[in-house]
């Protein structure tokens, strides 16, 4: 997974899973809830698009 996200994926995922962390991240970055959701969608998109081939493990 390579992304151009402006936030660490782990920080973003923790925020998406925890309301208090989400509020803290939005306050720190000056983001709205829409900004947070946009990063979540960008992470999802980068994951799907990073599949150069189907990986069966």
């Amino acid at each position: 997974m390579k992304t151009d996200l402006d936030v660490d994926a782990e920080v973003l995922l923790e925020a998406l899973n925890d309301g208090d962390k989400a509020n803290a991240l939005m306050a720190e970055r000056g983001w709205t809830e829409e900004d947070l959701v946009a990063r979540a969608e960008a992470l999802n998109k980068s994951l799907v698009e990073s599949m150069a081939s189907v990986n069966v493990v």
């Binding site: 994926a9 899973n17 599949m51 150069a52 189907v54 990986n55 069966v56 493990v57």
Partner: protein, 220 residues
Amino acid sequence: MLQTNTVSAVIERLRETTAADFRSTCVDVLSAQIDWAAAVRDHLAAVADDSFVGGTEQIFVEGVEPKTLLLHDEPGRFRLVLNHFDKSSFLAHQREGRITPHYHHFDFATRVIGGSYHHLLFTNSGELSAPKLTLRHRTRDDAGHVYVLPWDEFHCVLAPAPDTMSLQIRSPARCRPNRRPLSTTAKELLAARDVALDALDDLPSTAESGQVPEFARCWL
């Protein structure tokens, strides 16, 4: 019925179950209120080096995390595997673009026995060989979570906590996996085992019942 308090007892329970009851039996045994880190550590430490290396060579996948260490192989029936997420290795693979949605060549049931990870599940509106994926569910799986995942479900694990460990019960192969010849040596596999044993030692001693997350209830 045997009391499920050791990995050997898990193996006995699985030997007795039918294919139709396999998933529910897996969830039942993995939900047992025992110190899983200690049970897995005791079992792994008791496996002979040759047996461990020979079995782990059959399941070890290079270039991804977690490291998969064989605890027991019941040919044609099931395998018990310890998954050990090495954080620094995971991040290196992630930077190289090797952490992506994937499916497995086996159904599995798993219990997170230490640490946590973020787990993303995808709906595939395409074919297995030409998937069209959209995110269906995102959750954080913590220690004590027990879930099953059918082989053809695309999923992805991200952001594991350091030394996250899970005990996995695998079904027989449902398809042929992509495999390159293994370059990892026996010495390296034994070193990975020893690192995992140390990490198991460091996990807190707990004995809690398993919890099945919402996303997995549809497969029980």
